[in-house]
């Protein structure tokens, strides 16, 4: 057994990449809300750590042309703050469902991706928003869609030496909804989660599902069906009997849930279909018209 070589605390992304280049086994510590649980359980025994907390550049978000770029170190609490929450209400809603205020102050979007749990609360909405995960190493950079990035339960596509630096989300004129079912009214691991995005500008529908399969799942068939019934020209989602239900049915069809101590596969599928129906109805009723003013934020 080697001794712990210490904790590096660089102040720039380049500094982080240097550390990882030197020792690709170095473990990356963001908010620590998953990391420390694993350490406490003895499931993770880091030999060396690089902490991201001093990398100021990763803790901000900004608008770059028609995209929003959110630093990997942006916390759930930041996501819930006004300007970002106005731009990405679905992501803010998802962030609010994470843990307690203390956890939301520490936990980060990059960390949620880093853990790559099927129950990661921000992943369904990032999937539905067509977010790209920006990845860098000392010598390269690349971007992956969330469904390319998460490749299995708690497994992701990062190579040694790589970290997530940010996520990039197209800015558009969208309606967004996030719903999460759990057995407690707060601070609960998702039993089923659903994010729905209707992009009025591009005529696109995104639907991401959480906790109902080995990875976050994209409900492609449900997306296509909904895109087909929306009256895009008049920005209308039809108010027809059975439509919400049909959307819910298609959503549940995309899932492959399991029985575990948190719930049963049958209830997860069922809850998902209810959430699908409710998301459909909510967006039908809301239909946000206005693109809010865009300001860069901390």
């Amino acid at each position: 057994m080697a001794t712990m070589s210490g904790i590096a605390r660089p102040v720039s992304v380049e500094g982080v990449l240097d550390v990882l280049d030197e020792d690709p086994a170095t473990q990356v510590l963001a908010g620590g809300t998953d990391f420390m649980v694993e350490v406490n359980y003895g499931h993770r025994k880091p030999q060396s750590i690089v902490a991201l907390s001093r990398v100021a550049g990763m803790r901000t978000w900004q608008v770059v042309e028609d995209h929003l770029v959110i630093g990997a170190g942006v916390t759930y609490s930041q996501v819930m703050k006004e300007q970002l929450a106005d731009l990405l209400p679905g992501l803010a809603q998802a962030a609010r469902t994470v843990g307690s205020p203390q956890i939301r102050n520490a936990g980060t979007i990059g960390g949620n991706l880093g853990t790559a749990s099927p129950a990661g609360d921000s992943l369904p909405i990032l999937l539905a928003l067509d977010a790209l995960v920006n990845i860098r190493s000392k010598h390269s950079s690349r971007s992956l869609r969330v469904d390319e990035y998460v490749i299995g339960p708690k497994k992701h596509a990062l190579q040694p030496g790589e970290i997530i630096v940010s996520v990039r989300i197209p800015l558009s004129d969208t309606s967004q909804e996030f719903l999460k079912v759990g057995t407690r009214n707060a601070m609960v691991i998702s039993v089923a989660g659903l994010a729905l995005v209707v992009d009025w500008k591009s005529g696109r529908v995104g639907c991401g599902l959480g906790s109902v399969g080995p990875t976050p799942i994209r409900a492609s068939e449900a997306e296509a069906w909904l895109a087909g019934v929306i009256d895009w020209e008049n920005r209308r989602i039809p108010d027809r009997d059975g439509y919400g239900q049909e959307f819910g049915r298609l959503v549940a069809r995309a899932a492959s849930p399991i029985d575990d101590h948190r719930s049963s596969a049958a209830y997860r599928s069922y809850a998902l279909s209810v959430c699908g129906k409710r998301a459909y109805e909510r967006i039908r009723r809301q239909q946000r018209q206005v693109l809010p003013g865009i300001v860069n934020g901390e």
């Binding site: 350490v39 469902t97 999460k180 079912v181 009214n185 719930s263």
Partner: protein
């Protein structure tokens, strides 16, 4: 590769931040260095300090600020860290235990197994049937097999991993009903206790009969402060153990027996307790800690991880209950039949007393002329179960109150009317044949809880609807329901047990010192004792010490809603004895009759309140000290028909619940619980409110989320990530509509214990409200979302 071959002896993972250096000899009385009001207030901000005032806990500010030293914060120079190896199998033979590799690891100072135990191999509160270390068999997953002490906690963890145990796993016995007929898993058999209760005319029949089966899942006490303590050996072969517990002396007796030491060589001291709720009644780490310390001749500290804590202490018994109620057409109860099976898990713990409670209280606080109840507590290979707040009364209350609702339905009668019609009173007999006696304001608590005004309808705010922060609710799918339940329980120990308490009062000038081993686990004995002193001696400078087990006799357990009565009583009698002596000393000095004198604010005063002589003048340097042992009235064991005067006293409680249910998703938000409780007399209103709110919420947890899931003998959710307890968003408004103060003639100040009652009727009240909202039968707690959603979908389409 040798694990520690590198040059640096520093353990290989993140070092733990150094705990607060609290010298253990200053941690008496729950971790505070000074208990006599270091905030300059004697803990009596804005109060008279007398009985009936809201005296603030002396540790309140420290606890709120995170400054309080819990048992997990203990530290001693040169201490080692202990760690226990546990069985991964619920049932297995142990073929061999090889500790050689662990022994050889640098920094590992001891690796101990059953073979190292100098005294008794087994312990237990009742029957001694539980091994300190498993020897040839393991009977539950989590059973200790070995213990190590090392210079760093991570090293201790690695040493435990290096112990090789060769198991031959067997198929575990996990079904409590099967346990009754299955081959014995222990030489003492699979039935801890079977009580056959027969009362009245067991052939009696009612005009209306309702039948049901009910199930209660395994609830955990879920205290925040994990099992932890520090053992310090002495050169004379004795040991001091600083420990969070509910009963120092019974721990001491069990530990000494296992160590093979006379009890006086094992000194237990109370360390700061982070909650108990019954889970600290059995010993968990006590023997291992002392043994490791004596072997290594160094202080040894142990702190359970959360997962170990869930495996390391007993839980509330899961229950399966069949009931048949008989009533006349006017609602008068005729007979109750019941069969209750409690799963006690692998070892006995307090199962025998828990099933006695469940059986005695099986019919509820009602006049029931005839009863036939069979209560079983059985042994399985599931985790051991024992004491938890409510102690057997919780499980049956869910069943009998569900039955009362069902009966009201069958009779088309208002459920509260039905309860009032049958409410027991002090001259009635319980189904054990015992006359209730004392006070029994059952009708009063029912009426008072029922009359609470209903809350406003739900707003549209998703955060306040079922599902809360998950924002999954749909307003028009949310249905409001109301429900009601009544419950009761015994106070103090029963069935002939003499759970006395000992207290010493010493008055030196105007400063009183109370020594009493009553374990302060958060319930507020430290404030109550202070109030008793101020009330009886008229002084406000009070020091409370729990002493160690050699300094003072037993105070009994902090359980069974008994410490205010028993240790409060002991302190009261000790103070009265001191007051008598002081008054006669003053009478001698003043040449008056002692009856003309009394004590007030540091003085002996005349009957009309004129100060005559100060306590400082009278007793400073000539302290007056009195010790008493306080007993409650004796009780009898139950006879072969489950009859007898087995209990000292009873307290009664009622809850009305209001819930919002998302009937489609099956999610629940408990909106309001209003309650009335029979408390005898209010001693400290603020602390009483704390007990009521906390207990009520624990009952909400059992109703809708709290369950330790066990599959094939393995706990599935030993973490606070997955063992869910209510958060602020799950907590209803708790409205106390009335505290019924009818003094119990036997109790000091007339006060009944109040800690358990709130946890008894809140669960059935919530479930009754969910039934009211959904129309579903819901015969199992906790109620799961799928129980509602799938049940509702079925009934909706039918």
């Amino acid at each position: 590769m040798s694990p520690m071959s590198s040059a640096s002896p520093v353990p290989p993972v993140l070092p733990m931040s150094p705990p607060m250096p609290v010298a253990p000899d200053t941690t008496r009385e729950g971790g505070r260095r000074e208990s006599s009001g270091s905030n300059g207030s004697n803990g009596m901000i804005g109060t008279s300090g007398l009985i009936g005032s809201s005296v603030i806990r002396p540790d309140a500010v420290d606890k709120a600020r995170g400054d309080f030293a819990f048992s997990s914060d203990l530290w001693a120079e040169g201490m080692l860290w202990g760690k226990v190896l546990r069985s991964p199998h619920p049932s297995a033979r142990i073929l061999s235990i090889d500790t050689a590799r662990a022994q050889q690891m640098p920094g590992v100072m001891a690796v101990l197994t059953w073979a190292d135990l100098p005294g008794d191999q087994v312990f237990g509160l009742d029957a001694k049937d539980q091994p300190v270390f498993a020897h040839d068999v393991v009977r539950y997953a989590g059973e200790p097999i070995a213990a190590v002490a090392a210079t760093h906690p991570e090293l201790a963890r690695q040493a435990v991993d290096a112990i090789v145990v060769d198991f031959e796993p067997a198929i575990p016995l996990v079904d409590p009903d099967e346990a009754l007929s299955a081959p014995a898993t222990h030489e003492a058999g699979n039935v801890f206790r079977h009580i056959t209760l027969r009362h009245g005319d067991i052939k009696a029949e009612g005009d209306v009969v309702v039948e049901g089966t009910y199930e209660v899942g395994m609830q955990d006490q879920a205290f925040m402060g994990p099992e932890s303590g520090l053992a310090i050996p002495s050169s004379d072969g004795s040991v001091d153990l600083y420990i969070s517990t509910q009963w120092l002396h019974v721990d001491r007796d069990q530990v000494a027996a296992c160590l093979g030491l006379p009890p006086e060589l094992v000194r237990l001291h109370l360390a700061g307790v982070g909650g108990a709720f019954g889970a600290r009644e059995d010993i968990t780490i006590q023997v291992q800690l002392c043994l490791l310390a004596l072997r290594t001749r160094r202080p040894v500290k142990m702190v359970f991880s959360r997962a170990e804590s869930f495996l390391g202490h007993v839980h509330r018994h899961p229950a399966r209950m069949w009931y048949r109620h008989h009533a006349r057409r006017d609602g008068t109860l005729v007979k109750v039949e019941a069969r209750i099976v409690l799963d006690g898990g692998a070892y006995m713990s307090s199962s025998a007393a828990v099933i006695a409670n469940a059986t005695c209280f099986a019919a509820g606080p009602y006049r029931v002329p005839s009863a036939a109840v069979d209560g079983f507590a059985v042994r399985t290979n599931n985790p051991p179960c024992g004491a938890m707040r409510g102690f057997g009364a919780v499980q049956v209350c869910f069943a009998y109150e569900s039955q009362m609702d069902r009966l009201a339905d069958a009779l088309q009668m208002d459920p509260i009317e039905l309860r009032l019609k049958n409410a027991i009173c002090s001259t009635d007999r319980l189904i054990t044949g015992q006359v209730v006696g004392g006070t029994a304001p059952v009708a009063e608590v029912i009426r008072a809880a029922a009359e609470a005004p209903l809350p406003e309808p739900a707003s549209g705010d998703l955060l306040e609807l079922p599902g809360g922060a998950g924002r999954c609710a749909e307003y028009d799918k949310v249905v409001r329901g109301t429900g009601f339940a009544v419950g009761f329980k015994n106070l103090l120990y029963s069935e002939g047990f003499d759970d006395f308490s000992t207290a010493r009062c010493r008055l030196d000038g105007d400063m009183a010192t109370i020594t009493c081993a009553a374990a302060e686990v958060g319930q507020g004995f430290v404030t109550l004792a202070r109030q008793v002193v101020t009330e009886t001696l008229g002084v406000t400078k009070v020091r409370i010490s729990s002493g160690d087990t050699n300094e003072i006799g037993s105070a009994g357990s902090t359980s069974a809603s008994r410490q205010s009565w028993m240790s409060g009583g002991a302190v009261l009698e000790a103070c009265k004895a001191v007051a008598d002596r002081v008054l006669s000393m003053a009478a001698d000095t003043l040449q008056v009759r002692p009856e003309t004198l009394r004590l007030s604010v540091g003085y002996v005063v005349s009957g009309d309140g004129i100060p005559l002589i100060s306590l400082n003048d009278l007793t400073r340097g000539k302290p007056v000290e009195e010790s008493v042992v306080f007993h409650h009235k004796p009780t009898d064991p139950l006879d072969s028909d489950g009859q007898g005067n087995a209990h000292v006293s009873f307290a009664f409680v009622a809850h009305k619940a209001v819930v919002d249910v998302d009937v489609e998703l099956g999610l629940v938000r408990v909106v309001q619980l209003s309650t009335a409780q029979d408390v005898g007399k209010v001693l400290n209103p603020l602390q009483l409110l704390g007990q009521i709110e906390g207990g009520t919420l624990q009952g909400v947890g059992l109703a809708v989320m709290e369950e330790l899931l066990v599959a094939d003998g393995i706990v599935q959710n030993p973490s606070f990530t997955d063992y869910l307890i209510p958060t602020t968003l799950d907590a209803p408004d708790i409205v106390v509509t009335r505290l019924v103060e009818e003094p119990d003639p036997l109790a000091p100040f007339g006060a009944k214990g109040a800690g358990e009652m709130p946890a008894i009727s809140s669960t059935p009240a919530v479930v009754s409200a969910i039934r009211n909202a959904t129309g579903l039968a819901l015969s199992r707690v906790p109620v799961r979302p799928q129980d509602i959603a799938f049940g509702y979908a079925k009934s909706d389409s039918a």
